[in-house]
Amino acid sequence: MKFNTCKLELEFEFGDCRGDYFRVQVDNGNSVKDVDYFNPYHSTMIELPATLKIMTSGKNNKIHTIVKDGEIVEDMYVKVNKLKLDGLAIGNTFYHKKLKLITIDNQEHTTNYFGFNGTCTVDLVHSNVFTQFLSLNTDTDFLEKQRAATLENSKVGWQETNDKVDSWNDLAQ
């Protein structure tokens, strides 16, 4: 078995400005579907590897962002709140560190809060769902930090093995 198919689900949150909402379309490589603010969910079967595109449109920044005294008091937005593979939600890091919106004027925003017209591409490059899920779920910064700390600690003897350690550890289970 290839273990390369799964149900992909997206949960969005829409925020209006002057009663208007973003138009959101999700392209899974085979079809493009609209997601509406009154039913902010998208679900599709995918076969890996695949590319997912989330396209936002319909915002006029002059109309759909209200600024008062230099502060944004109302903004049209759409947020990606959850991405699930076979019902299993990807952890928080993904939404804040791995979602990138490329706006129509080529600006890059790393966030799950989409406040511009543009396209967010999620490359699902792995050939099985297990690895794909873990890859999306991984906080690479944390992983590197953890590895560096382990290395550092091993240098100062933290991971030093003790010749006298024997089966005792097992017996304590």
Binding site: M1, F3, K84, D86, G87, L88, A89, G91, N128, V129, F130, T131, L134, S135, N137, T138, D139, F142, L143, K145, Q146, R147, A149, T150, N153, G157, W158, Q159, E160, T161, N162, K164, V165, D166, S167, W168, N169, D170, L171, A172, Q173
Partner: protein, 485 residues
């Protein structure tokens, strides 16, 4: 990867497959599948009992990137360097398990550290056959013993798990297989502890499908009791088994003899929380074992297990003589803290003097102790920490018969006395992790406590004692030192 416990060259089928899950660092067989196998068979189903944890842990521990596996186990993160290995483990595991074409797959979780593995085994199994019924059980389903399990609920919502068996499964799994799906403990918060009578009637664990050559320690696990006679303030075990129930010494002895005759193994590891909770029955057990060992010097038994120190008295010397004669070999003792003040405060009322007495008898009779310690009690001071170091310096005469296990420092778990008295104790939660707490009154922080643990580990080794060492504790302490908890 090929798993010995799931080898199936003759395409045998089983109705039920029950397996353990990594990561549980143990060189001993894990009991649950062997305990449940005869229960399943009594209900009229065939059963494969598999302890795959052992094979995977051995693989991980010998892997040059074992730290990266721990990041997967704890955080569900993927280090690209082990991507193929990890996929191979889980896809092979599920494929080989499903070659037995089971109708039910039972996944046993001994601790929360097994959750990520269990989740992915369930996913692979359901991918291979969505009609198979997946059951989860064991204390590891929950962050603590009681209350709802967010972990299980998530897997159930995702359709990866069909049933959650809570608490002891000896009766509820039987009822489940008999079609009584409403029985207490099946997809319910409540479950029923079994009575003394029931406990004594359960069939013996069946280890016939375990390959004993794969374990570092050729020992058979055994259960003599449930619950505990103490009410320690940090303990969540007693929240799950509030009553102390026990088997008779005679009953336990008969099982040891019967298991020896079946498997030829004479070393037994008690997997309950204490061997000498009921002193009368314990005395009977060690007396029978001592008699056996005297009569059968070439077939003598040895045993190991959790043991509680009590205040010493006139009977202490005789008890230690019997423990030795019975084959008492390595005893694990929850000292918790070498400061008498702290030990009394947490619920273990035996004096420092009695520790010395017991250690002296242990030395005399060549009985080894693993002394379990909790570093950083809620109000432990720098002076008390220094006292522990002094204790180590002044007790080196016991260095050859004690091992010190400093563990991962004090974790505060739900449903414990500590958790219920959180505010009263002046503690501040710094993260959701059990170790994530501070006490500003004594300057106690996770990083400080982890440094204490490291210092004690270092001093222990420096003085020539043996220090217990576990990869998962290292991982935890490193996180604490790096302020990640």
């Amino acid at each position: 990867m090929k798993f010995k416990c799931f080898e199936n060259p003759n395409n045998i089928t089983y109705d039920v497959v029950i397996t353990t899950m990594p990561y549980t660092e143990s060189g001993l067989p894990l009991m649950a599948p062997a305990v449940l196998k005869p229960i399943v068979e009594k209900a009229g189903f065939s059963c494969l009992a598999a302890d795959v944890n052992n094979e995977i842990v051995r693989y991980i521990n010998s892997h040059e990137r074992n730290g990266d596996f721990m990041t997967f186990i704890y955080d569900e993160f993927l280090a690209p360097e082990i991507e193929d290995d990890l996929y191979d483990i889980f896809s092979s595991l599920a494929t080989q398990l499903m070659s037995f074409k089971p109708k039910f797959v039972g996944i046993s979780l001994i601790s929360y550290v097994n959750q990520v593995s269990a989740k992915w085994l369930a996913w692979f199994v359901k991918k291979i056959d969505p009609t198979v019924t997946v059951l989860l059980g064991g204390p590891g389903c929950l962050p603590t013993f009681t209350g709802p399990s967010e972990f299980v609920d998530t897997l159930m919502d995702a359709g990866l798990v069909d049933y959650h068996i809570r608490g002891d499964a000896e009766h509820s799994l039987y009822e489940f297989l008999k079609g009584r799906r409403e029985y207490s403990g099946i997809n319910s918060l409540e479950w029923r502890e079994f009575s003394l009578e029931e406990m004594r009637k359960f069939p013996m664990p069946d280890y016939s499908q375990y390959d004993m050559d794969l374990y570092r320690i050729p020992a058979l696990p055994i259960i003599g009791s449930r619950g505990c006679v103490r009410q320690c303030k940090f303990c969540d075990y007693i929240a799950n088994w509030p009553s102390f129930t026990w088997r008779t010494g005679d009953d336990i002895f008969e099982e040891m003899v019967a298991q020896y005759k079946l498997y030829g193994i004479r070393f037994f590891k008690f997997q309950d929380s204490l061997t000498n909770g009921n002193q009368k029955e314990f005395l009977q057990l060690i007396t029978r074992l001592a008699e056996w060992n005297t009569k059968n010097p070439d077939e003598s038994f040895t045993w190991s297990g959790y043991y509680i120190f009590r205040e010493h008295n006139a009977a202490t010397e005789r008890t230690w003589e019997l423990v030795k004669a019975s084959g008492g070999h390595k005893l694990i003792v929850g000292i918790e803290n070498l400061n008498q003040r702290i030990r009394y405060a947490l619920g273990k009322k035996f004096s420092n003097e009695s520790i010395d007495v017991h250690l002296e008898y242990g030395k005399k009779h060549k009985i080894h102790f693993m002394l379990l310690q909790i570093v950083g009690w809620v109000d432990e001071t720098d002076e008390e920490f220094e006292f522990i170091k002094d204790w180590l310096r002044t007790h080196t005469q016991y260095k050859d018969n004690i091992t010190l296990q400093w563990g991962g420092t004090l974790g505060i778990f739900p449903n414990t006395w500590l958790e219920r008295n959180w505010e009263q104790l002046g503690l501040i939660r710094t993260s959701e992790h059990p170790q994530g707490w501070e006490n500003h009154a004594v300057g106690s922080t996770p990083a400080k406590r982890a440094r204490w643990a490291k210092e004690l580990n270092d001093l222990t080794r420096e003085l020539g004692y043996t220090a217990g060492d576990q990869l998962n504790n290292h991982f935890l302490l490193e996180k604490m030192i790096n302020n990640e908890i």
